[in-house]
């Protein structure tokens, strides 16, 4: 693996740092509402990375669905439920860190396979019509399946909440 003389993108570094920091805060903050807000900040950072790498449609969908619907709904649930009364035990942290280290090790083993990949070239913004026609022609059945899955999920969750 030869590291090129090419630049390391400062914007990517900034967005990556933002995402990782806010993900950590989301899990470790004392008040859970702060955690939910920083989770939303992480969604924003990820969508900025999508937009920056040329995935315009995906970035906008991430903004609209993740931040605008899922994040807001999670924040609402957090406000509704409030703080948990039982504190988190410290033993779990050690177990969790161990599990995370194991997963990190296995991911690193896979990461070394990156050497085999062909030479890169940066692709800019793609034609949206190509995405659309591909989505419809190759993934038409997937769309219908997704629609029925979403509908049945809505059915189920409404019935659960209804008591």
């Amino acid at each position: 693996m030869i590291f090129p003389p090419g630049p390391l993108d400062p914007i990517i570094i900034f967005l990556a740092t933002l995402s990782v920091m806010s993900a950590i805060i989301a899990l470790e903050s004392r008040q859970i509402v702060y955690g939910a807000v920083s989770l939303i900040v992480m969604f924003l950072g990820i969508s900025a990375i999508f937009l920056y790498l040329g995935g315009l449609y995906l970035g906008v969908v991430q903004l609209g669905v993740y931040v605008g619907a899922i994040g807001v709904l999670i924040l609402f649930a957090v406000i509704l439920v409030g703080e948990s009364r039982t504190p988190e035990p410290n033993v779990n942290r050690i177990i969790g860190a161990t599990a995370a280290m194991i997963v990190l090790g296995s991911l690193l083993v896979g990461f070394t396979a990156l050497q085999m990949l062909p030479a890169p070239h940066h692709v800019g913004a793609q034609e949206l019509s190509r995405i659309a026609s591909r989505l419809m022609r190759d993934y038409g059945l997937v769309i219908v399946a997704l629609g029925s899955l979403l509908a049945s999920t809505a059915f189920g969750s409404v019935m659960i909440t209804r008591r």
């Binding site: 899990l27 999508f50 995935g55 649930a77 439920v81 995405i131 969750s157 659960i160």
Partner: protein, 106 residues
């Protein structure tokens, strides 16, 4: 010559770190809402991998975006189901901790 794009390493490392943070949260937390947080973090990390490799390694950005959109729609379904379950647990137990939901054990 095999030249690695440094930014690709950066983004895929970011995705890896996010995934590991998600695993850590999933194992160590007992608050159900924090579990939902860590699941969302892991889903985002997976989507990020698709986009990163498509952006730096080839011309299949459209497929990556389609995969990402499908993942996001599935995440919406997952969030709907998870949040309704959490609210139901909170209504029954007045708290949202995993340990209290033991009676499902057979």
């Amino acid at each position: 010559m095999m030249v690695m794009e440094l930014n690709l390493i950066m983004v895929s490392t970011l995705s890896m770190i996010l995934f590991v943070i998600g695993v850590y949260g999933l194992v160590s937390k007992r608050n159900l809402l924090r579990l939902i947080f860590s699941i969302e973090i892991m889903i985002n990390a997976a989507t990020l991998n698709f986009v990163a490799f498509a952006a730096y390694l080839g011309s299949s950005m459209s497929v990556a975006q389609i995969a990402g959109v499908i993942i996001i729609a599935l995440a919406a379904a997952e969030a709907a189901a998870g949040l309704s379950l959490i609210l139901e647990a909170h209504r029954l137990r007045k708290d949202v901790v995993v340990d209290q939901l033991r009676e499902m054990k057979g």
